[in-house]
Amino acid sequence: MVLAGLWDIKQSSIFNVASPQADKIGAVGNGFLVAATGMFLLVAVLTVYICRRYRARAGGPEPAQTSGNRKLEIMMVGVPLLMVTFFFFWSLKTMSAVLPPRPANRTPDVIITGHQYWWQADYPANRISTANEIHLPVGRKLLVALRAADVIHDWWVPALGAKMDMIPGTENYLWITITRPGTYLGGCSEFCGQEHAWMRIRVIAQEPKDYEQWLVSQAAIDKLPADSLTTKGAGLFMHASCSSCHSIRGTAAVGTDGPDLSHFAGRRTMLTGIQKVSKQNIYLWLLDPQKVKPGAHMPKFIFGRDSLLALTAYLSSLK
């Protein structure tokens, strides 16, 4: 478990990439790092050398008053100019490989919409919708469409390559090919309001057959245990205000303002990455949302303890 956890986390940086897109970006990055280090060392060594060599000495003569050297000046401009030209063409090549134009007739494999402060993921071919934990298959070149529901958000999973803003009123896209299964972490990278910090991303990359299985399980309707608490919770969810913002597949809850809660308890984290899904966390969240995630748009409902326990039981049964 501990090892699996570490593996998870290693995959949140640009150094541990899992897609050819991120790999190509990494190559330019490394090339630049080498050139930049060289340039930096040149300046640093010259600075130190000149400071040591030409320290003023008491009674020393006035130094020669040279005020320029045409040849040296041309070199000072020419060499950096050649270097940036080289990187410009490398950049061009990488850009067209990472972000080629989008064919007009291709439907995106997944549409991700940024909301204050959560992610909506729609899979048009399978007509399913989920939130925050985004399952994707490995080995396929996926077209990911990016939208925003309110303000500007930004999709960034470093291991999978480029980030891209989600801008209300337009649709952006990215190509993502994932090379190995695993959990990849990321986060919203455009400041989007109070809970910008807690718009973490979890991409769960699966082998195609596991992914297909996941799609089937998401399309299914939850079978609820028939105990009285869960039934009461389901009733409350539909008749209190919950269902006007949240959807649960196969029920009367079809709201779209908040995250889709179908199979909610099958996810590992809740509230876009703040905490693990557990009965206690669900209970505390329902008790006072602003205490757990200040600024979230979930209102505080004045539920009694019984109702809270019933709702908690219902939500944690949505596997």
Binding site: V28, F32, C51, E62, A64, M76, V98, G187
Partner: protein, 560 residues
């Protein structure tokens, strides 16, 4: 010694009202002053006041970020603090400090007795001060602005930020902007009209050149900001919808207008500092600036290119590869004249006789720190790298290496260089060295690690973060470095206060300097000059002190 010539000293055509009021420097005299030296000093104190305020704001932010999952500040307060920190440091610390030095020293360096429009000079200062106060009044009026210093739409709209903070942001920056634009007009006219006889454009000190170029940059860049601010006020107060996509507006329009101002603004905050360094390096190396023509011409090139690079702040907004490529090319191009200046200053030191005063120490440290900031800047012009690293802590590190390692180091160097002239007393070199090491070490502790944090996936502007490996320890180091910088700044402010009375008497020319401001007394009398030495090169005072080895004779330049 060559003879002292009687030359006409340029002055404003109307008699100066300041000259009729007693010069006892009481409060009323400061408030009513139109003397460029007093206004310059007030600009500088304004900057000191706001660096303390902006510094406290960011120390609170760094305490919150010192450990993961911290609850020291709630997100609402945190967002107001980082927004105010950025806005304050850029508009009310760096800009006024630059204007302070320019207002004080441009007339002195060109041999004039005041700015061309002394009353407008005072007007510019008071606009800046009241702009800052208006911005800070938001705290009392219901909440400070909370959408970041670049205040992206539609987060800046009333429906997402309903406290009046952003309205104060707009009005405060508009007011300060009026001051900035009028000051620029004043500098341009002063520099073109009031130079002492003999000082052609080719004999102007580099600092004066940079202020001239900078003033044109401001005149061209600020209209875009001011237009955007007015449009945003209309959106918020009168329900217009320039930036509201829900009503047919455009969220990206704000970014275009803001960065069309915002990127030139970066150069507005660095070019004058290049001017300061171009005074400091020659004086403390006892050599002329290497490649005067190149340094000035590259300043002009930067100013022109500055208006064609703004989209590099928007490479991740999906404008398409064609647009991105154009702006990548222009951004890479502008890096060249900016970076090559480093070699000009190195070549100035080469073969010289270097005195390691505190002013020079900051100039030398700048060479190394600004190279880091410049190189990370180039990495953002390489679009694929930008796609990974923009809007992360790597950007935070980059911009602070530019604004602190570049602009602020230059301003501090300027303080140590010019404080004796302004106050008549020296800043302690011994305490100055303490300050230098504290500040430089603190600065690198704070920001060097942030490059790594960005690459490890930490987005900027988050009020807290999950406990991922490495994030906690690097943030802790960064916060400790911030504390060290805080202590260093307090030491500097203490020195600035106490040295006015207790510092060693400076005399008129403590550094054996080159330019005209050092020919008058320290501090200069209300009327700067009765006599000005002849000007035939960029180093008239050195020519005068060493008539056997003048620049104009050596270079065969003689304007007479």
């Amino acid at each position: 010694m060559s003879r002292l010539e009687h030359i006409r000293i340029p002055e404003p055509e109307k008699p100066l009202p300041g000259l009729t009021i007693s010069s006892d420097q009481g409060l009323i005299q400061w408030l009513s002053s139109v003397d460029h030296k007093q206004i310059g000093i007030m600009y500088l104190w304004l900057s000191v006041l706001f660096i303390l305020v902006g510094g406290i704001e960011i120390l609170l932010v760094r305490i919150q970020l010192a450990v993961p999952n911290n609850h020291f500040l709630n997100p609402e307060v945190f967002n107001q603090l980082f927004t105010m920190h950025g806005t304050t440091m850029i508009f009310f610390v760096l800009a006024p400090a630059i204007f302070g030095f320019a207002t004080y020293f441009v007339p002195l360096m060109i041999g004039a007795n005041d700015m061309a429009f002394p009353r407008m000079n005072a007007f510019s200062f008071w606009c800046t001060l009241f702009g800052g106060l208006l911005l800070y009044f938001s705290y009392l009026a219901g909440g400070a602005p909370d959408a970041g210093w670049f205040n992206y739409a539609p987060l800046n709209q009333f429906s997402y930020s309903s406290s009046p903070g952003i309205d104060y942001y707009c009005s405060g920056l508009l007011l300060a902007g009026i001051g900035t634009v009028s000051a620029s007009v004043n500098f341009i006219v002063t520099i073109f009209r009031l130079r002492v006889d003999g000082m052609g454009l080719k004999q102007m000190p580099v600092f004066v050149w940079m202020i001239l170029i900078n003033s044109f940059l401001i005149l061209a860049a600020f209209p875009s900001l001011n237009a955007a601010l007015v449009m945003l006020l209309l959106d918020r107060e009168l329900h217009a919808h320039f930036f509201n996509p829900g009503n047919g507006g455009s969220a990206l329009l704000w970014q275009h207008l803001f960065w069309l101002f915002g990127h030139p603004e970066v150069y507005i905050l660095i070019l004058p500092v290049f001017g300061i360094f171009s005074e400091v390096f020659p004086v403390f190396s006892r050599k002329p600036i290497f490649g005067y023509g190149f340094v000035v011409a590259s300043g002009v090139a930067i100013a022109l290119l500055a208006f064609g690079v703004w989209v590099h702040h928007m490479f991740a907004t999906g404008l398409g590869n064609t647009v991105n490529n154009f702006f990548a090319a222009s951004s890479l191009l502008i890096g060249v004249p900016t970076g090559v200046k480093i070699f000009n200053w190195l070549a100035t030191m080469y073969g010289g006789s270097i005195r390691f005063s505190v002013a020079m120490l900051f100039a030398i440290a700048f060479l190394v720190e600004f190279t880091i900031g410049g190189l990370t800047g180039i990495s953002f012009a390489i679009v694929p790298i930008d796609w990974q690293l923009t809007d992360t802590y790597y950007v935070v590190a980059h911009l602070h290496y530019v604004f602190i390692g570049g602009s602020l180091f230059g301003l501090i160097s300027g303080i140590f260089y010019w404080y004796p002239k302004i106050s008549g007393r020296m800043l302690s070199e011994k305490m100055g060295r303490w300050f230098f090491w504290l500040f430089v070490i603190g600065f690198n502790l704070t920001f060097l690690v942030q490059h790594a944090l960005g690459a490890m996936g930490m987005p900027r502007r988050v009020y807290t973060y999950p406990d991922l490996p490495g994030w906690g320890i690097l943030n802790m180091i960064s916060s400790l470095g911030g504390g060290l910088m805080g202590i260093a700044v307090c030491l500097l402010v203490y020195m600035l206060f106490t040295s006015r009375k207790t510092g060693q008497i400076a005399g008129s020319d403590p550094w054996d300097a080159n330019t005209l401001e050092w020919t008058t007394t320290s501090p200069p009398p209300l009327k700067n000059f009765n006599l000005v030495i002849p000007v035939r090169s960029t180093r008239p005072f050195r020519d005068w002190k060493r008539p056997d080895d003048t620049d104009w004779a050596r270079e065969g330049v003689n304007n007479e």
